[in-house]
């Protein structure tokens, strides 16, 4: 019979599940986040607690069979939040641990290829955030941006923004997942805030942002339009590069 293993949705939690699977020598399992679980009469389900020590042991143990690159891939696949990706991750780990040679490039295995493709999507979303974040300078001197990435990629973005904007305080807030990453000139922290509801409303901008901020936004907007070549117009390509769901956060698309 298949056992359903529920966890808290954190990466540490998932690794604790892996520990549990090996500890109890479970064969047929299915892993699911607490919040996605809908109880029914036939399932046998167990809630697994997140335990940092066990998670750490699993993560370090993986280094025996997996390159650092492959481990990162597993973490990125996890951030995709794709339904059932946990099962694929478990499959990958089991295959890697039982194999005598590296399995990382065996793209004829559809599950390994699935991880590969998921990672590619997550990487692309991470890259989009590097590109599409638009900081607005608040009256209290913080460069502030809101985003709604398709996947939970902000943990991957932190390092890029920290090295690049080392001399300014900044905050990138994920509205969908209700947390942000904040840099205070020393380090990046994860924070949760009650954001004002009208913070992104153009007509309320002068409450939160400086006069210069709004003027620079207009300059950027005009620059963007001046650098377009009308006789080469290609809206299809334009939208392929910047899908419409990102537009509401882009200064050049705002006015």
């Amino acid at each position: 019979m298949k056992t359903i293993l529920k966890y808290d949705g954190s990466f540490e939690g998932l690794l604790s599940v892996v520990f549990y699977v090996y500890e109890h020598k479970l064969k047929e399992v299915s892993i699911i986040k607490d919040k996605h679980y809908e109880p029914n009469f036939f399932d046998h389900s167990i809630a697994i607690l997140s335990e940092p020590k066990k998670a750490k042991r699993v993560w370090q143990g993986l280094s025996k069979k997996l390159s650092p690159k492959a481990k990162t891939k597993l973490y990125k696949a996890f951030l995709s939040e794709t339904l059932k990706i946990e099962n694929t991750i478990l499959y990958y780990i089991r295959k890697a641990l039982s194999a005598s040679v590296s399995i990382e490039n065996d793209f004829t295995d559809s599950e390994i290829l699935h991880i590969e493709k998921t990672v590619k999507k997550v990487d692309r979303e991470k890259h989009r955030m590097d590109a599409f974040v638009r900081f607005q300078l608040t009256k209290d001197g913080i460069y502030f941006a809101t985003v709604e990435p398709d996947f939970d990629v902000l943990p991957l973005n932190a390092r890029h923004f920290k090295t690049r904007y080392a001399d300014q305080r900044w905050l990138i807030y994920d509205l969908k997942r209700n947390y942000g990453i904040f840099y205070d000139l020393l380090e990046v922290q994860t924070i949760t805030l009650e954001l004002a509801k009208d913070i992104n409303r153009g007509d309320k901008a002068s409450i939160y942002f400086t006069y210069e901020e709004i003027e620079f936004q207009k300059l950027w907007f005009n620059y963007f339009n001046s650098s377009n070549i009308v006789s080469r117009k290609n809206i299809k390509l334009h939208i392929k590069h910047i899908p419409k769901r990102y537009w509401k956060f882009l200064t050049e698309k705002k006015f």
Binding site: F132, T163, L219, R232
Partner: protein
């Protein structure tokens, strides 16, 4: 800051700079030291895309569009009746910093019309870059235009602050240059390019011996050619390109389909279509030369002075060399795999990795991402089914074309008829 005045200037000087297609911000290695602002190591980022689908990575502007030259193909030519403006050095610095801090851009691409003389103009460009680096502690990307005819001392200085330097040769052939820009001399373009090339070589040599050498133009040099303004063939363009790649170690050559901006009778008239498809084929050829191990003579030569417009240059080459196919994907070396139509760099790398585990079949190839609708005529794999029929190039071409959808199909039927007209005119 007088935002209204700045805005007027920005509109004029961004509009004038937009025909320079380079927007690359990759390939440099400037780190953010001492908690300064910005970095430019690793891959570039396109922060936005204009409605024509082009990447916006840098603040791309002219310092001024006043110019003493009168090149027919250029929108800022002296005789053109347009609004003129000029930025002050500090204004460009402020714009760059403020755009950069908001994550709009990767850095600055500064070009200029030539005012007074080459050296005077080059000095002003350098002044902007110097100020950004020294006063603002800015480590973002800076691309400066090398002004044709600028002195060696200035080119040396420019490379100390810029990540990339570029001179646009614009017209692929000397005879074209004579016709469209009679005041300019090919030698003036080459001189700063030569100087920068030698400085880069010297920098690399010194770096092997000494620990601390000031970095010099880490993202190298590039150039740009206008396509379709002077009646040149594809072969002339690509041979020029290959020459520049080789002689000056260029990182990139850009091809810019001529956008008609003038009623000059030496040029295509206003309203004629931008040769976007041709531009695309030239870029494909450029990629084949740089990443796929092709020699320009294999793709373009006396018998084939122009690229085929209805199929890509790799397929075109394969159809002319059917005797080299089919190849076995489970055995062929990388060089040959790269020559298969429908296999790109990424698929080839995946194939090479994956075939270590087991022999690949059609299903595997498909899930890896190969375009089998083209590739299947040129390969065999671990399967008993494969294309057995002997077909001529013409037959293969028509089968492949009928089974594929070109994003250019609309343009294609239009442009083909345009080409036909053109041929009858010139015949």
């Amino acid at each position: 800051m007088d935002f209204k005045r700045i805005n007027e200037k920005l509109e004029i000087l961004a509009d004038a700079a937009k025909y320079d297609v380079s927007c690359s911000s990759s390939g440099s290695n400037r780190k953010n030291s001492n908690k300064g602002l910005g970095n430019s190591n690793g891959m570039g980022i396109c922060h936005s895309y204009t409605e024509d689908g082009r990447c916006v990575s840098l603040l791309k502007i002219l310092l001024t569009n006043h110019c003493i030259f009168d090149c027919a193909y250029c929108v800022t030519r002296k005789s053109n009746d347009i609004k003129r403006a000029a930025f002050k050095v500090q204004e460009v610095v402020d714009l760059t910093i403020n755009f950069y801090r908001r994550n709009y851009i990767e850095g600055l691409f500064l070009s200029s019309g030539i005012f007074k003389n080459a050296d005077y103009t080059m000095e002003r460009l350098i002044a902007v870059a110097k100020k950004l680096r020294q006063e603002e502690n800015f480590n973002g990307y800076i691309h400066l235009k090398s002004i044709p005819g600028a002195s060696d001392e200035l080119m040396r200085e420019a490379g100390l602050y810029a990540d990339r330097l570029s001179v646009n040769i614009e017209i692929p052939t000397e005879k074209g240059l004579k016709l469209l820009a009679p005041e300019k001399d090919r030698k003036d373009f080459i001189k700063p390019m030569e100087k920068v090339k030698n400085e880069i070589i010297q920098y690399k040599n010194e770096k092997k011996l000494l620990k601390r050498v000031p970095i010099y133009a880490p993202a190298g040099q590039s150039t740009q050619m206008i396509v379709g303004a002077s009646g040149e063939t594809d072969a002339e363009i690509m041979y020029t390109s290959a020459y520049f790649y080789k002689s000056f170690n260029l990182k990139r050559v850009y091809y810019s389909g001529y956008v008609p901006i003038s009623n000059d009778n030496r040029l295509p008239t206003i309203g004629s279509a931008v040769p976007i498809l041709r531009e695309n084929r030239l870029y494909q050829t450029d990629w084949l030369l740089r990443f796929y191990g092709f020699d320009v003579r294999e793709l373009l030569n006396k018998e084939h002075p122009n690229l085929e417009s209805d199929i890509d240059p790799k397929l075109s080459w394969a159809l002319r060399n059917l005797d080299q196919f089919p190849i076995d994907v489970n055995k062929a070396d990388k060089r040959m795999l790269l020559r298969v139509p429908g296999l790109g760099l990424k698929s080839v790398n995946k194939i090479i990795k994956a075939r270590r585990y087991r022999k690949l079949n059609w299903e595997n190839l498909k899930s890896i991402g190969a375009s089998l609708n083209r590739a299947k005529y040129f390969i065999i794999c671990d399967s008993t089914t494969f294309e057995t029929k002997d077909r001529t190039s013409a037959q293969l071409k028509s089968i492949i074309l009928s089974n594929s959808n070109s994003k250019f199909s609309a343009t294609l039927s239009n442009q083909l008829s345009l080409f036909d007209n053109h041929n009858t005119l010139s015949a």
